[in-house]
Structures are given as structure tokens and as C-alpha cells.
Symmetry: C2
Subunit: 113 residues, 2 copies
């Protein structure tokens, strides 16, 4: 990778780190980590999500038990404000990263259009 | 997205457009487009690749006919220097984009480690 573009990528990394979106995510993530209940439910959520995604990728069926478990953990999450704040912050950062990718990868996208 | 980070993303886009990796890709892509045989084989390759990827994502089996078709088009490609140059250029640009992502997304990666 050329020197210029590497420097600019590092600059972008520093700026991303200082965005309101990212600092909000850090705070929200810290809040979940420090709360025992939120931390437990969040980890459970991630696990259920991973299992279902892996099965979908492999073309395997989701069992009734897994669907019920996913429903249960979704309900728990929607009732836990510490976690919903984290999910909202993740969404905002994800949107920002998508926006950055849209801009940076424009030359490649144009080439294949 | 904050103004600063948007400006820097645009700067990165301009720099990416001017890298040797990207200009080589443009040239290689143009060469394939201008050569009837290379263009036909390359499109065939993309189509076979897409079909197989979609089936794998859906957890469906690849038929013997499809596997044979993939083998055949791979052989054609390895014998066509115009196409192998494009594939090599795609690999280099892909590597550069991965490197950029490694740098830019470091704050997010660190958070979830
Ligand atoms: Ca508590
Ligand atoms: Ca020709």
C-alpha cells in the first residue's frame, strides 16, 4: 500500500475514534459490561444470534426450541434500556462505516457498473 | 457523519483512485472488455462463480454438470493472459482495501476484543 493512502487511512481511523457515534458506542458498551444482568442477557443474545446465523449459512433449519429462545431473549433485550442503547449505538456506527465505505470504494464500484 | 471524517473519506477515495493498484486494475479491466474472447470467457466465469456461491449460501448441492462447467471455465481462464492479469489486479486491489479496512476499523475491532 502506498505511503499516502496509508497515512490517510490512519487519519480516518483517528477521526472515526473521535466521532460522537463511536464515543457513544464505547460508553454504551462499557455500561453493558458493568451491569451484570445486561451483560448476561447481551451475551445470551449474541450466542443465540450466532447459532441462528451459522445454521442459516449452512442451510440448516432452526428448531422450534431455538426460535422460542430467540424470541425470549429478544423480549428480554427490548426491556433492558442499557442493552437497547448499545444496539442503537452499534446501528449508528454501522451506518457511519457503511457511509465511509460508500465513499472510499466508489472507484471500484464505478469500474464494475 | 461528521464533516471532517467525510472529507477524509473523500481524500482517501481520490488517493485510492490514483494508486498503482487501482490504475492497473482499470487497465486490465479495459483490456478484457476490448477483447471479444476474453470478455466472453470472463463473463462466463463470473456467472458460474455466482451460481456456485448462491447455491453454497443456500446450502444447496453443486451438480456434477456445474462442477464440470466450473472446471472447464477455470482452465480457459488460466490459459488467457488478458484475464489472468485482471484477476491478479483484482487480488491486489482487494488486498489494499483489506489493509485500509484493517486500519480504519481498528477502534471497532479493539472494542469487541
Ligand atoms: Ca445492575
Ligand atoms: Ca482478440
Amino acid at each position: 500500500m502506498a505511503v499516502n493512502i496509508y497515512d490517510t487511512a490512519n487519519q480516518l481511523e483517528q477521526e472515526l475514534r473521535n466521532t460522537e457515534e463511536f464515543t457513544t458506542l464505547e460508553t454504551a458498551f462499557g455500561a453493558v459490561k458493568e451491569d451484570e444482568e445486561a451483560s448476561r442477557v447481551f451475551n445470551e443474545f449474541r450466542q443465540v444470534q450466532q447459532t441462528i446465523q451459522q445454521k442459516q449459512m449452512m442451510g440448516q433449519e432452526i428448531s422450534e426450541e431455538e426460535a422460542a429462545q430467540a424470541q425470549e431473549v429478544s423480549t428480554k433485550i427490548s426491556q433492558n434500556e442499557i442493552i437497547t442503547k448499545l444496539l442503537e449505538a452499534e446501528k449508528q456506527v454501522g451506518q457511519m462505516i457503511d457511509d465511509i465505505n460508500q465513499v472510499v470504494l466508489k472507484p471500484v464500484r464505478e469500474l464494475y457498473q
